[in-house]
């Protein structure tokens, strides 16, 4: 067994309450590294085409990555992979929670869960064995209560728990899965878990992970810690403030979503920015094996939300639940963040949905009777607190509609409401407005899981005006569609391969060192060279595109919401800016060309052969 893997995958059938263990397919491991790469390959094998995401036939895959559980810095990230109930396409959702590492110590590279239990269950995975345990008494509990109850029941405080909250049970389409206080947020993996009547997965392992080349590994770890983290000014923001500090940059650049993306900078931002968070911070916290420690634990001591203790807010949360709702008070933000985490809702999608509903109410598209008496105005935090709870439990008719996500909700409400919905493929947009950074629009449109910022992050190079292609810096013109597709493509390669290895997006942007890390952990020679690393990233991107095209994705799905093209920002540094349609189409055309995809956005056989996917993938290519 090469280092980095434990070599076993568990196939769990909840309907029959049985499981079997298969050896990890090493061809897949070698080609797709780990995490989302391997999971995508298994999904192609085992998930039939066109499955309803909330049916028992959908698969829920918890997959670990080769660097998980080793001493590699900032490498606890692991994905949960499934078909998304929000988009109907591919979903991988990562977190740095402690469960991934523990799962590897428990002797599994991944678990693939199918079927549906007839009564609520939770799984207890301990050192190679899997137990099906009743969860009737846990059904309905909030997330931290679930975690506590399971630890008490199993009598082991060091068990790590993956669980859903009430929102997941009620099949809210953007429900999260919590992993020891970190969230697998996007795309509604929690609803898939809920649809399987699976409340939680408790994991405990006393096994081992070994690396293939210990000496090389120690060297590269030392080098990464020094060059990528402690002596890298770009990593400082995470160590000092956490992700929330990104808001200074986006607010100034006009990319901060404000009042349902009506504008790009928020006049009350200083009330919820990194300094405001630092003022109420009581503690720093970190994911497992991470030296960055970007989490802030905050305690609100004054105002009507006094006593709220929560981990966060991250930048995306502060933006979508803060500026996007017109909230500039750290107490209200902390309360909403706390509720979302405890009830099990994705803060990004929740913020998108609430912001959209508020705009409809302010425009008179929905009435006060429909909101159930809530005066849903921007900045009215009390209404948002009520509505958030209502959504998690689907308490009121409006909440029941909003629980479906903006795309389905606007189809149900009708009345021109889709005009104001801000999503790509059903996934609500995160906190970088493409009107302030055109390439970000392309990034959202072509991201594998819908509108998402973790597939490429071109806003950085765009606003700073510099980008390194190889060793050569090339000048980037921000307000132009030129040279943008190539940035997105190259970043997508890096992110895909990096996430497959388990490394966090807050660390380590040097492809060479990332490749060497994978080489040292697994011993696979091809990653020693930076080209091998980048090709693996490209391979994974193409593999997932094959999955998506098989599920019916075409170039017509790779679009942006009308607001981005038609509604100019009403204030701030980007006043009157839109992202012109012709710019977007040009970038998209270039993107497909560079990728070697046809005009319908489908990878050609030649492209797939060039990037080196295995033969099994080609038989899924029917176009």
């Amino acid at each position: 067994m090469p280092g980095g893997y434990v070599g076993r995958i568990a196939f769990i059938d909840l309907s029959k309450q049985k499981y079997h263990i298969e050896p990890l397919n090493m061809t897949y491991a070698r080609l797709y590294i780990g995490g989302k790469g391997i999971a995508a390959r298994y999904l192609l094998d085992y998930l039939p085409r066109g499955v309803d995401p909330l049916s028992p036939d959908n698969l829920l895959v918890v997959m670990t990555c080769p660097a998980n559980g080793t001493a590699a810095p900032a490498s606890p990230k692991y994905p949960i992979v499934t078909k998304s109930p929000l988009t109907g396409y591919w979903l991988d959702t990562h977190s740095g929670g402690a469960v991934g590492v523990e799962l590897k110590y428990a002797g599994f590279d991944g678990v693939i869960i199918s079927g549906k239990a007839d009564k609520p269950l939770y799984l207890y995975i301990e050192d190679g064995k899997i137990e099906f345990r009743r969860a009737n008494h846990l059904w309905g509990l909030r997330i931290s209560d679930t975690r506590r109850a399971i630890k008490e029941e199993l009598g082991d405080p060091q068990v790590k728990v993956l669980s859903i909250g009430p929102a997941g049970e009620k099949l809210v389409k953007y429900a999260i899965i919590d992993s020891e206080g970190r969230q697998h947020g996007r795309g509604g993996a929690g609803a898939v878990m809920g649809s399987k009547n699976l409340k939680a997965i408790a994991v405990r392992g006393s096994g081992r992970v070994e690396v293939a080349l210990p000496r090389e590994f120690e060297n590269i770890v030392e080098e990464m810690e020094e060059k990528d983290i402690f002596k890298n000014p770009e990593a400082e923001f995470g160590i000092k403030w956490g992700s929330i500090s990104l808001g200074w940059f986006t607010n100034e650049a006009g990319a901060l979503p404000t009042r349902n993306f009506q504008t790009g900078s928020f006049e009350l931002w200083s009330g919820i920015d990194a300094l405001a968070v630092a003022r109420v911070r009581v503690k720093r916290a970190a994911c497992r094996q991470c030296p960055i420690g970007c989490h802030n634990v905050i305690l609100i001591t004054s105002g009507k939300y006094a006593g709220t203790l929560t981990e966060g807010p991250e930048y995306e949360t502060a933006s979508l639940l803060g500026s996007n709702l017109g909230i500039g008070d750290i107490g209200a933000l902390a309360k909403l963040n706390y509720l979302a985490d405890e009830l099990g809702l994705d803060t990004i999608s929740l913020g998108g949905v609430l912001g959209w509903a508020t705009e409809l109410y302010e425009r008179g598209i929905i009435s006060i009777e429909e909101t159930g008496g809530l005066d849903l105005r921007f900045g009215n935090d009390e209404a948002y607190v009520v509505l958030t709870e209502a959504i998690a439990y689907r308490k009121t008719p409006l909440a029941d509609i909003l629980a479906e996500g903006t795309r389905r909700a606007c189809e149900r409400i009708g009345r021109d409401s889709c005009r104001y919905a801000v999503h790509v493929k059903g996934l609500e947009l995160p906190a970088y407005d493409p009107r302030a950074a055109p390439a970000m629009g392309l990034s959202y449109a072509v991201a594998d899981r819908g509108g998402d910022h973790l597939r490429s992050w071109p806003i950085g190079p765009e606003v700073l005006g510099r980008y390194w292609l190889g060793a050569k810096p090339i000048a980037i013109e921000r307000w132009s569609p030129d040279n943008k597709a190539i940035i997105v493509v190259q970043q997508e390669h890096q992110y895909a391969a990096k996430f497959a290895a388990g490394v966090c997006d807050f660390c380590c942007w040097d492809n060479e060192r990332l490749g060497l890390l994978i080489y040292a952990v697994t011993g696979f020679e091809e990653y020693k060279d930076v080209k091998g690393f980048e090709l693996a990233g490209e391979r994974i991107v193409n593999l997932i595109r094959v999955f998506n095209v098989r599920e019916g994705m075409t170039a017509r799905d790779d679009i942006l919401p009308p607001r981005i093209h038609e509604d100019p920002h009403v204030s701030g540094p980007t006043k009157n800016r839109v992202l012109p349609r012709e710019w977007f189409e040009k970038m998209k055309r270039e993107y497909y060309e560079i990728r070697g995809w046809d005009t319908e956005g489908r990878p050609t056989i030649d492209t797939l052969k060039r990037v080196g996917v295995d033969e099994g993938v080609l038989k899924h290519v029917t176009w």
């Binding site: 110590y105 206080g181 096994g207 081992r208 009581v282 094996q289 989490h295």
Partner: protein, 168 residues
């Protein structure tokens, strides 16, 4: 005496468990948590993290419980060590330890912290300054200093006593 002591500050601990990983690795050569001599307990919802391990007590209950004198104190580092040539693996020390710091390793033998012979791997692995290896005469000085600062900022000089702030 100028021996060194392991000091833990939970206010700085982030729960990353790098100390556990480093301990396990230096003792066994693989990555895991099974053979770590220290443990991290985490309450993620409140951000509380506690690292527990051997405090090298003096007098040490484990030493007193050992019937074959296999536990002894190293005069150089003042640490409490197990002599595996004498140890009969009876586990009396495991039950005697008030802190659960002695446990059974994956090879079935009793294991405990030995301060890595005066150069603890856990301390080197801690990037947050929560675990430190400091000279015995400096133990507590940071906490005392923090307290002094808070006292200084809270009151004027006339209101301070040696045990805190004078009431009223």
């Amino acid at each position: 005496m100028s021996y060194y002591v392991l000091e833990f500050d939970s206010g700085k601990c982030t729960g990353c468990e790098r100390c556990v990983l480093a301990c396990n690795y230096i003792k066994t050569g693989y990555y895991g948590t099974r053979d770590s001599r220290l443990r991290v307990f985490a309450w993620r919802d409140t951000g509380d993290f506690i690292v527990t391990g051997c405090y090298h007590c003096d007098p040490a209950p484990c030493m007193e419980a050992c019937g074959v004198d296999a536990i002894y104190r190293d005069p150089k580092t003042n640490s409490v060590l197990i002599d595996y040539r004498k140890c009969i693996n009876c586990k009396a020390c495991v039950y005697a330890c008030p802190y659960g710091a002695i446990t059974l390793g994956s090879d079935g033998k009793v294991i405990k912290c030995d301060l890595c012979a005066g150069d603890p791997a856990c301390v080197k692995a801690c990037d947050y300054g929560a675990l430190r290896f400091i000279r015995a005469d400096k133990v507590g000085i940071d906490f005392a200093y923090q307290y002094a600062i808070s006292l200084k900022s809270r009151t004027d000089i006339s209101k301070r006593t040696w045990s805190g702030v004078r009431p009223g």
